[in-house]
Symmetry: C2
């Protein structure tokens, strides 16, 4: 018999879904894990394992499919997302395009649409900004279509945006060429909004190059520098969610003013505009494309410019390692290519900037492994975290009981 639909308030009501939530987390942490393996890792008795598996199956959260036998003994089953199970819609919003996916409980993504829009101040979509309204209208329709098609299976929408996010709003969307925007009106589903660089860091920590790290520092260089610190795979996002503006630490020359309103910002030493300054060339309209182009050049001047930015990158990272004490650093976007453009100088700047006691075992600086998909995988992680909380599972169970 299924649990009664009577929701218990207080502590018992939450504790009820505690183990279920842990099982789902395990399934996501290692997709394709067997039921026996999960029981072992969570130290569940076989009786509890039987019970909880049955519950999760009845609730249309998981199914058990036969596993490939691996030796003697009674075969066990692989836990997979239920074909009628809950889903999260992810949307990544970048300065001139967007892309949507659906995520299942095991963290797998399936494309659900993509499009281009007017583009930001120096976007490739024509250099013209339409403002947020048309884009938000399109995304609102997308969410409505997903709800129509998926009904109650759609449990949350998780947004990864190339802008500074605070309390569910885009508090600084200048990279999109937009004024501050409130996104709370997009849907009445649970809406999770995160910065793309922050979420890419989450993806690296959960299933990328920083997998298994206790503290992971991710730095993403595009037009600016974003990033995040993750602790056991969870982002440290500050009071409002706006943490991670690594590019606006004053590591640079105070004489240089930044578009953010401050001066001496680190990103002014690292991005394409910095390269152009070193080369005495005009400020590029697309710093990203310009950087890629300079990295391809074969001139002493270009190499010197790349070396200067790679050095600034390495020195700043060293300071952040002093601060955060991560066990691994991951580089996303152009950070990897910039380092590759002057690896020796990057490394010596990195080591020189570390406190002496850290030089014996400096944290490795790895290229990110999710590439272009990091933000969406991170958004999936955050969204799935949300729909597998004890409270959210209680809600799902109630709806399932009501048919």
């Amino acid at each position: 018999m299924l649990n009664s639909a009577v929701a218990k308030g207080g502590r018992a009501g939450d504790a009820r879904w505690r183990t279920a939530s842990a099982v789902l987390a395990e399934v996501r942490r290692a997709p394709g894990v067997t039921r026996a393996e999960v029981a072992h890792r969570l130290r569940l008795s076989t009786g509890s394992s039987t019970e909880i598996t049955a519950r999760l199956r009845e609730l249309r959260l998981l199914v058990e499919v036969p596993a490939v036998p691996r030796g003697r003994g009674r075969p066990t089953g692989v836990l997979r997302p239920h074909p009628s199970g809950p889903l999260v819609l992810l949307i990544e919003l970048r300065h001139d395009d967007w892309r949507a996916d659906l995520a299942t409980l095991d963290g797998e993504l399936r494309a659900f649409g993509a499009g281009r829009h007017g583009g930001g101040v120096d976007g490739q979509g024509g250099g013209r900004s339409d403002g947020p309204e048309p884009v938000l209208a399109v995304l609102g329709q997308l969410i409505a279509r997903a709800r129509e098609r998926l009904g109650g299976r759609l449990r949350a929408v998780s947004l990864a945006v190339a802008a500074t996010v605070g309390d569910g709003r885009l508090v600084d969307a200048s990279s999109l060429g937009w004024p501050p925007v409130d996104l709370g009106t997009l849907t009445d589903l649970p809406l999770l909004i995160g910065n793309d660089a922050t979420l890419a860091g989450v993806a690296e920590a959960r299933s990328g190059a920083a997998r298994g790290s206790r503290a992971g520092l991710h730095l993403l260089v595009e037009a600016g520098i974003g990033g995040s610190l993750t602790v056991d795979g969870r982002p440290v996002s500050g009071a409002t969610g706006a943490a991670g503006e690594y590019g606006h630490l004053p590591f640079g020359d105070r004489a240089l003013r930044c578009h953010c309103g401050a001066a001496g910002c680190w990103e002014l030493e690292v991005n394409g505009i910095a390269l152009a300054r070193h080369l005495g060339e005009p400020r590029p309209t697309s710093p990203r494309r310009y950087t890629v182009e300079v990295l391809r050049r074969d001139s002493a001047a270009a190499r010197a410019a790349v070396t200067a930015t790679a050095t600034a990158l390495g020195a700043g990272i060293a300071g952040l390692v002093n601060l955060h004490d991560p066990d691994v650093v991951t580089l996303g976007g152009l950070a990897g290519p910039l380092r590759a453009g002057a690896p020796a100088e990057f490394t010596s700047a990195y080591l020189a900037g570390l406190m002496a006691f850290r030089r014996a075992e400096p944290p490795p600086v790895l290229d990110a492994s999710h590439g272009e998909h990091g933000a969406r995988h991170g958004a999936a992680a955050v969204g799935l975290d949300h729909i597998t909380t004890e409270a959210a599972l209680a809600g799902w169970a109630e709806e399932q009981a009501a048919h």
Copy 2:
């Protein structure tokens, strides 16, 4: 009847002490809280409240004392630490002295000893360092004495050290004039080791000026700059516990080399050595005393030097607010007096360094409220957290059942 002493493995064994742990946390969060109030906050039914209070009393964790009546209705009781309940020994180790306290479950401290030692490189104890051995011997004896006197009531030792801590070692104890030291041999009790500035931040977040903050940034200026970011009162301590070296972020002039091995460290712009540099005076042997002395001077040159350091402090804090997104910043040690020495310049540097969108509601920068006691209160918080975990309570209960 008490719970059977048979420890259940796995999840049930932990869940068993979950509510007990929550009740103890509540008692510590608001010392003097009534039983009815705790039940209300944890959304416990009166039945559960009766049951759990009886259990905690039988286990010698809490006692109930009559509360002053506050109006109609049956009077309730105040929950207090049991007179035979568990204790944590705290030791704060500074560059030329140490101080020990005992903490009860409600977070109250009681002095348990103090002493002086050789002192660090520029300590006031004579400028001479005896190395760690004699000090560690004294502390070892102190711990042994506490165990002798308190028996099984002493559950953990929590150390706050003015040094960089990593994985239970002092990985950089140059501020004490010591080489790296392993402290794991001090006792076989659970030993928690933290940096003093980090722990002072914890104290501010739990019961000080940053109380109730979601994300609190604490900065402590002494000879250098330490600090911590706390999230819901818990410190973000990095992979090994060495996070918080704010003074070694490269916010300063790259031409200045730091004793830490890097260059351009922020603390070189803020501490007493920076003041002396601005004033063209010789490097002080005690930067702390020198700073206090300069703050008292009434000369234009001294004011200019203080203004320069206060400005560097404000500008750096702004960068860190951009990065961490705290809802409150607290200043410990000399940071408050330095700001007070040039408040207008501090504030304008702070505001100028913020990203424009933050200037509408910049996080308040408050003086820390724990003063000299911050590190010990933070060490108490961390130690009591440790002994009120579900696993630790299970251990305590087992010993109580065995008489």
